[in-house]
Each structure stands twice: as C-alpha cells, then as structure tokens.
C-alpha cells in the first residue's frame, strides 16, 4: 500500500503544520486587538497561534505577524492533473525565453483596429510599450517585433502590410459591435486571406471586449481574446501555435 500523500505545512519538522502569516486589522494596538488577531487566525483553521509582533501602522491600523500551526492538510492523490494548467499563459520573461529557444528569431506581429473601428484602447493595451495595468505590450518584448497600425485600417491594408513585413500573426481588433459590424469586418478579413491563398500563412487572432474564443473560432480565426487579456496571453498563444505548426 502506498504511503499517504497527505501534506501539511512544514516549519522544521514533518507535519508540524507551521505557517507564518502577516495581516493588518483596522484597530489600534492593545491587548484586546492582539487577542482579536489571535482568534482570527485560530478561526482560519489553525490549532495554535502566537502573535509574534504587533506594529502600529497609523491611528486605527495595526499589523500583526503571527506564527500558527494547523492540522489541515491536502491529499495530493485526490488532485487531478490539471489539463488547464498546461495552457496557462507564460509570463513576459518566460515567453521571450521560449521564443528564443524554440523559434530562434523575433516573432512578427501586426495589429490594428479594422474597418471603421477607431477604438484602439484594446489593441494599444496589447501592443504599446507601456501596455495595460503594469503588463507590458508586445513592443516591449525583445523576441517580438510588433507593428501597431492603429485605427480604421481596411482589411486590405492590414493584409498587405502583414505580407510586406512577413508577419507570423495578425491581430484584428473590433470594439464596436452595433449591427454586428464586427462580425462583418472580421469575416471579410478571413475571406480576403482565403481568396489570396494566404490563410495558412498567418496565425489569425480576433480581439475585443465582446470577442470570445468560441466566436472567433466560428468566424475562422485561430483564437479570440476578450476583456482581461494581456499581451503575455497573446504572445504565449502565438509562440506555442508556431511551434505546434512547425512540428505538425
């Protein structure tokens, strides 16, 4: 019979369940607050708790450093191998290293708001240096050559540019969805590529606040990215897909 894979935190002894926590309570530091902190920790599933340190941060705020022990643990055998985790996006450093190692040259990406759409916040968030919310855009990535054509780019011009710079991937951004204009414009791009016999040359990605992966696939794209997407998500997809295609 296999040894149990029941795992508890480890301080300096097997199964001692030792954990270090630090947190702030919006209270002044006194005996009652320290007891409150201790009880809070015990209520989180710990058997014992020692408040090692209490520090006044400001009037009405105290930080506590606590050491506590728990009998809780996790049965590793019960955890299924997470298929989803394999698809988790690589971080900025990781994806650049991946491209360097597996592809050996910068990945060329061309992006734009297509058709009459002038709302570039999304494509800018993915492409420009500063990116969005501390997630840098593709322009920052040493192993990506990013071309942001901006707003209101006709599909023909986007395609022509992508061919000229020998792009690996094309990002078509659509924010406006009135009268399904996004569907029309996105579909046109696919049709244009197919008519020119160029569909297979590019990794085609659709993006926008109302663009889902499912919709994008239905329209003939390789992927769709919606709200909450950052550059590394797009970069990871492109890099992995390029490697997959190569070995297919």
């Amino acid at each position: 019979m296999e040894a149990s894979m029941f795992v508890r935190p480890y301080g300096d002894t097997q199964d001692d369940g030792a954990v270090q926590l630090s947190f702030t309570l919006p209270v002044d530091d006194d005996a009652r607050s320290r007891e409150a902190a201790r009880r809070l920790v015990l209520g989180l599933g710990f058997e014992t708790c020692e408040i090692a340190h209490a520090e006044k941060l400001a009037a009405g705020f105290t930080m506590f450093i606590a050491y506590a022990r728990t009998r809780h643990g996790v049965e590793l055998d019960e955890i299924p191998v997470d298929e989803g985790a394999a698809e988790k996006a690589m971080g900025y450093h990781e994806v650049n290293e991946f491209v360097g190692r597996e592809i050996g040259r910068p990945v060329v990406v061309v992006g734009a708001c297509t058709g009459f759409d002038a709302h570039t916040v999304g494509i800018d968030a993915i492409m420009t240096m500063k990116g969005y919310n501390h997630h840098f855009g593709l322009e920052r990535y040493p192993m990506f050559e990013a071309h942001n054509l901006g707003a209101q780019v006709p599909n023909e011009r986007l395609l022509e540019y992508a061919v000229r710079v020998e792009a690996d991937a094309i990002l078509a951004s659509q924010v406006v969805t009135q009268k399904s204009s996004h569907v029309k414009t996105l579909t046109e791009l696919v049709e244009l590529l197919e008519a020119e016999g160029l569909r297979e040359r590019f990794i085609l990605i659709a993006g926008g606040p109302r663009i889902g992966h499912k919709l994008a696939l239905e329209l003939g794209y390789d992927a769709g990215f919606g709200k909450g997407t950052y550059a590394e998500d797009v970069a990871t997809f492109i890099a992995r897909r390029m490697v997959e295609r190569r070995s297919a």
Binding site: S22, F23, T24, E55, L57, A58, A59, F61, M63, T120, V121, D124, A125, T128, M129, K130, Y132, N133, H134, F136, E139, R140, P142, N148, G150
Partner: protein
C-alpha cells in the same frame, strides 16, 4: 560638491552643448505650433470649468468648435473672452451655456482692447492664485523645514477611490512619507480630455481630476500638521493632456508632477510633435507654480538592460534638463529620474549601480534627483524584494539622492497594502538613519571600478547624443534610437490635435508666464 568620480568637466559641458543642439530645432517647431490641449489648458487657466451632461469638459467643447472651423491657430482665449463680454455673462454662466450647447464661435467680435483687458483680469487672477499657492507652500516648508528628511521619502497610493486613497495617504504621512503620489487609472494617458469631479472607481489607479487633487491636498495638509512635516502631493501630467493637468496642479497646490519630454512618444505611442509642444507649455505652467517636475528615465530600464543601456538614462537626463530649462524651470525644479535596475544576479553589480547614482548626483548637482527602486527583476518572492530594496535604500542615501521612491516588497504582485508601505518606510528609515554621514565620509578610489564605470557611461552617452544631434531628434526617434522603439513622425495618437499658430496667435496665459520669466 566635491567630486568623487573625477568626471572631466569638459565632457559634461560637451554633453550639455549636444543637448542644446538636439533641443534647438524642436524648440523652433514648438514656437510655431499649438495644440488642442494647450488651448484647453489656457481656457482652464482663464477659469473655464465644468462638463456637459455626457461628461465632456467645457474646454473640450469650446476648443473642438474652434478646431472644427479651422480657427484654433489663433488661440482659444480670444474667442472665449469675447463670448464672455458679448453675452455679459458671469464666467460660470458662460461655462454652463457652453455645456448646454452654446458655440463660442457664435459670438460677434468685440473691441480687441476690451478683450485684452478682460483677459488680463482673468489671467492676473490665475497668477495671483498660483502665486498664493507658492507662498503657502514656502511658508509651510519654512515652518516645518527642520524636520525635513533627505532624501524625501516618496510613496504611492492607488486604490481607484480617492477617499480610500486619502486613508492610505494619511497613514503614509504618519509613517514618515514626505511625498505621496496618486497613481492614475491605467490608460488615462490616452484620454484626450481630463475627467471631472471626485472619482471612486478606477482601474489600477485613481483618475487625476481637479477635485481629486483638492481632496487629497486638504487631507495631506491636515496630516502634515499632525506629523510636523509638509507632505508633498504628486501627480502625473503624462499623456494627451499634459498642459491641462499642469494647470490643475498649479491651481490646487500640487508640489511635484511627472513631466517627461519623451515618455508619451516612446511608451504611449503619442505623436511626437504633439508631445513636444505639450511638454513645453505644461512645463511653463509647472514653472509658474514652482512645481518640481519628475522625469521618467526608469522606463528605459524596465526592458532594456540596465548595464548595457545606462547611457540612455544619462542622455535622456541631459535632454530633459535642456527642455526644462527652455520652459523656464530652474535646476532646483528639475527632478531628473534614474533607477536601481541591474540584474541582482550580476556579481559586483552594486558598485556599478552606486557609480551611476553618484554620477547623476555630480553631473546634476542642483537638481532634486529622483531615484527609483528595482522592479524589473522583482518577483513574488517578497523577502528577496525586501532585501533588494534595502540595498537600494543604501545606494540612495550613500549618494545623496533627493527624492527616494520607496520600493515595495510586493512590487511583483499587487498595488501596495498599507502594511507593505509601512514596511518599506520602516526599512528606509532604518537604513538611512543608520548610515547617516556615509556620503560625506566616503571617497572613491581614483581610477577604480566606480570611476571607470561613470567615465564609460558618460562617453557612451556623448557618442549617443552626437548621433541624435546629427540625425535630428524627430528622425532619431523614427530610427528607433530611444528605448529600442521606433515611432513614425506623423503616427501615434493626437497628431490631428496639433495646429500651426496663425500670425495673430494670442495666448495671454503664455504671455503672463513669459513676463514672469523675464522674456
């Protein structure tokens, strides 16, 4: 200042000459052009305010109308003041009317002398208010000056809700912060208008609005009184509205403002012509308000290697200094930036980091240099981050930096908890107090590692600036000389908002500032 690095004065002078050669043609362009935001800022300085029912600011409505009819080249002030006179309205009544749909172009022309007189009245009111703020600040600094720590400890708050920010900021003031910056909601740089009123929602930060500035200013004044210190309030001019945010900062007694001559172009893909014209006018407003500008050299090092590309930081400092002086800012108001961003795995990296910090200190002796903490190599390992920040605190104090942006142990994870900020301040106070006297005591080995490193970076910066001067700044940017990014001259956002000044261009606010500067 006794030199520890013994950098040749001749080379430093040459670098400054090159900066002048780089800035001069840009200055010619700036003199000949204005932009939508320069004109909106002018109206704000004349007192225009308010928004329509959709939240579009009155200055935007007025300027858009002028731009649409091709009249913006003459400046917006004349038309606005004419409208005020012909309709015989109080200013807030005129603003409300504009918000209600009134087109200021509808007003017939008025006697120019009357327009000038009225404009002078409004401009002088603006000048008085700003001068009053400068006097207030100086009075408080004089009152609390003794307790001022150097470097100034500068922290950031960013909850998205200005009222929550106030709590964090007040706590930070209690903990020893000398400056508090409110990070703006992400991508505010890309808005071609300034949001209005107090805001309680933002993404990754809080919107910069005039009302938010006023709220935070009031809170920090009270917190400062309690702590026996003047707490500086900082915000960001960056983006498509640099002049307008500068005006708001001057009106509400902000003390420091991020204002970089090239950040918008390189990192936000804002058109270069738009950026250069905007940065000039905004810096003139900053000068009027006696506001310290902070520049964004840290951005160069967030992707480019800090060892390989240290010279781009130095070159940018020279260029920023030149543009700042052209706008009337004295060195004591030019808070040039740099950062501690070398790979922590680099053996012996600390000496190089120290050399570069000392180099900046010696080349810009009168500038309140802003030194920024490690971010590039900071991960979720908060304990390593805390140690890296301690090294940064040491380097900062040991080289006499002026403004010290505290590093947070959770830099790699989230915007700071109150406890993160507290721990950062505690570490800085400990390190800086403990090594007091180090800067004055320590000399550097002649021709040692540090002296040679500084000399090398200076030489590289000069070579780089020669290339840029030869190509011209606009072309150099297009050729990707800066930050490894190329921006086309007429590309990027906001180019359509740049207009050539007409022969009869008139800007009474600019005139006020230039008179004050003795030009």
């Amino acid at each position: 200042m006794r030199s520890k690095l013994r950098l040749p004065a001749g080379k430093i002078a040459e670098a400054r000459e090159l900066a002048g050669a780089i800035a001069s043609p840009v200055h010619s362009y700036i003199e000949a052009h204005t932009t939508v935001t320069v004109e909106r800022a002018t109206l704000r300085a004349l007192g225009a305010d308010g928004v329509d029912s959709l939240g579009v600011p009155v200055p935007n409505l007025a300027v858009a109308s002028l731009a649409a009819s091709g009249e913006l080249g003459g400046g917006a002030a004349g038309r606005y003041v004419s409208a005020l006179l012909t309709r015989d309205l109080a200013q807030d009544e005129l603003d409300q009317a504009i918000a209600g749909g009134l087109d200021i172009l509808d007003a017939p022309e008025v006697d120019p002398a009357a327009v000038e007189a009225k404009a002078r009245e409004l401009v002088e009111e603006f000048g008085r208010r700003v001068a009053g703020n400068v006097a207030q600040r100086n009075a408080r600094l004089a009152e609390f000056g003794e307790s001022e720590r150097s470097p100034i400890l500068y922290v950031i708050v960013a909850t998205g809700n200005i009222y929550e920010d106030v709590k964090q900021a007040v706590a930070a003031a209690e903990q020893g912060a000398g400056a508090v910056a409110v990070i703006r909601s992400t991508a505010q740089s890309l808005l071609d208008y300034v949001p209005h009123g107090a805001t309680t929602e933002g993404f990754g930060g809080t919107y910069a609005t005039q009302e938010n500035f006023r709220i935070m200013r009031e809170a920090l004044d009270a917190a400062g009184e309690n702590a026996g210190r003047y707490v500086r309030l900082v915000n960001y001019c960056s983006g498509l509205c640099m002049p307008e945010i500068a005006v708001m900062g001057a009106l509400e007694r902000l003390d420091m403002m991020l204002n970089d001559s090239m950040y918008g172009v390189l990192f936000r893909d804002i058109n270069m012509y738009r950026t250069f014209v905007d940065q000039h006018f905004s810096r003139m407003i900053n000068a009027l308000g006696d506001i310290v500008i902070n520049t964004g050299e840290d951005n160069y090092l967030t992707t480019s290697d800090a060892y390989e590309k240290a010279y781009t930081v130095l070159a940018s400092q020279f260029i920023n200094e030149r543009f700042a002086m052209d706008a009337g800012l004295a060195p004591r108001l030019i808070g040039l930036g740099h950062a501690f961003e070398m790979d922590p795995e680099m053996k012996g990296g600390f000496l190089l980091e120290l050399a570069q910090a000392q180099m900046a200190r010696e080349i810009f002796p009168d500038c309140p240099l802003k030194y920024m903490p490690p971010t590039r190599f900071v991960t979720g390992d908060i304990f390593k981050a805390y140690t890296m920040n301690a090294m940064f605190n040491f380097a900062s104090m040991a080289t006499g930096q002026s403004i010290h942006l505290l590093g947070m142990l959770t830099e790699g994870i989230h915007t700071p908890f109150m406890q993160d900020r507290y721990l950062a301040l505690e570490s800085a106070r400990y390190v800086m107090d403990n090594i007091e006297g180090f800067y004055e005591e320590i000399e550097f080995r002649e021709d040692g590692v540090m002296a040679r490193r500084a000399a090398q970076v200076l030489d590289q910066a000069i070579d780089f600036m020669r290339t840029v001067a030869a190509e011209g700044l606009f072309d150099a940017i297009e050729n990707g000389r800066f930050a490894e990014v190329s921006r086309s001259k007429e590309g990027g956002k906001g180019y359509e908002g740049v207009v050539e000044k007409a022969p009869d261009y008139w800007n009474p606010v600019q005139d006020l500032i230039e008179r004050g500067l003795g030009r």
